[in-house]
């Protein structure tokens, strides 16, 4: 056990500094390794998902209202991108326009596939009046397989709101990371 000062301590900050000073180097290294292990495990799970689903981004957050009332801003989508899965009308695909980073979630409304497997398709948001040609690159009229990040297979409402808040309010993101870091570094398994 650790030597403790008796009586009621005042304030969490005093506790934290007290704990830090009392930890010897070994305990600190142990906590850092613990933290690193948690981060590595999370990364491994994410990479594993990428492999299993075939998609570079197996979980995406809906950013706009163009697919309402089915999906709203902040909903979470689970994607797969199997090479042998053909692209068919009616499917919900997540794609990126060449040169832009933002993934767009819309529905396939036209498909033209050649005998050799070459596919070109057109998309449109359920809540939009017109198709997505205005969103594509200058002069581009169709999307191809290479533009697809994945097909939406499942969804959870609201859960993705956290990432949108962290994006819009970076201070919130740093505060959250600081609290998480402090908790993991300082919690003791006794």
């Amino acid at each position: 056990g650790w030597p403790r000062s008796g009586g009621i301590r005042g304030g969490v900050a005093m506790d934290l500094f007290g704990d830090l000073r009392r930890m010897n180097k070994r305990q600190l290294y142990y906590q850092v390794l613990n933290f690193a292990m948690i981060v590595s495990s999370a990364l491994m799970i994410w990479k594993g998902l990428i492999v299993v689903t075939g998609s570079e981004s197996p979980i995406v957050v809906v950013l706009s209202g163009s697919m309402e009332p089915a999906f709203h801003r902040g909903d979470l989508l689970f994607l797969t991108n199997f090479h042998d899965d053909p692209i068919r009308a009616g499917e919900i695909v997540v794609f990126k326009v060449e040169g832009r980073d933002i993934p767009i979630v819309h529905r396939v409304i036209k498909v033209h596939e050649k005998g050799n497997g070459n596919i070109k398709f057109l998309t449109k948001g359920d809540n939009n009046e017109v198709d997505d040609r205005g969103l594509y690159k200058e002069g581009q009229n169709w999307l191809e397989k290479k533009d697809v990040v994945g097909r939406a297979r499942g969804f959870l409402p609201y859960v993705g709101m956290v990432t949108i808040i962290m994006n819009d309010y970076p201070k919130f993101k740093y505060a959250l990371l600081a609290v998480m870091g402090a908790y993991v570094l300082l919690k003791r398994e006794s």
Partner: protein
């Protein structure tokens, strides 16, 4: 599930443009049980035309769609509907094409969970005439 259609083709720029009018009668049920159970938020219904041409082995074009929310009447009885979207072919494959298949399908959107795509059991084959219409108004 029944559909009846009338059709014409007209040239626009260099691609065939098809005009289709249709009736849809459908009961969105899952056997005896209504498909709108506790976890179904809405259905996204769409009528798609599937056909092959010289240019492309497979073509699919969505002609019409509708969102049906939980609580809406699950019986559809639409008559004389015009297609919501332009039925452009990628090329001139509609003229004389005898085998265009129209199918009604729907995407089930749950409150949370898997997003299945279901194809209705009825489908209708539509032939396009061999000549272009130049004077029909749509």
């Amino acid at each position: 599930l029944r559909k009846n259609v009338e059709d014409f083709t007209g040239p626009r720029e260099r691609s065939d443009l098809g005009f289709v009018t249709f009736d849809i009668t459908a009961d969105i049920l899952n056997g005896k049980k209504c498909i709108f159970d506790w976890n179904v938020k809405q259905l996204f219904l769409y009528l798609s035309a599937e056909y092959s041409t010289k240019n492309n082995a497979l073509n699919q074009v969505v002609l019409w769609d509708k969102i049906m929310l939980r609580g809406d009447n699950p019986r559809l009885s639409l008559k004389d509907m015009k297609s919501k979207y332009f039925f452009f072919d990628d090329g001139n494959g509609l003229k004389g094409n005898r085998n265009i298949t129209l199918t009604l399908s729907w995407n089930v959107v749950p409150n949370a969970g898997i997003l299945p795509l279901v194809t209705g059991s009825g489908h209708v084959s539509v032939p396009f005439p061999d000549t272009y219409e130049t004077t029909k108004s749509y």
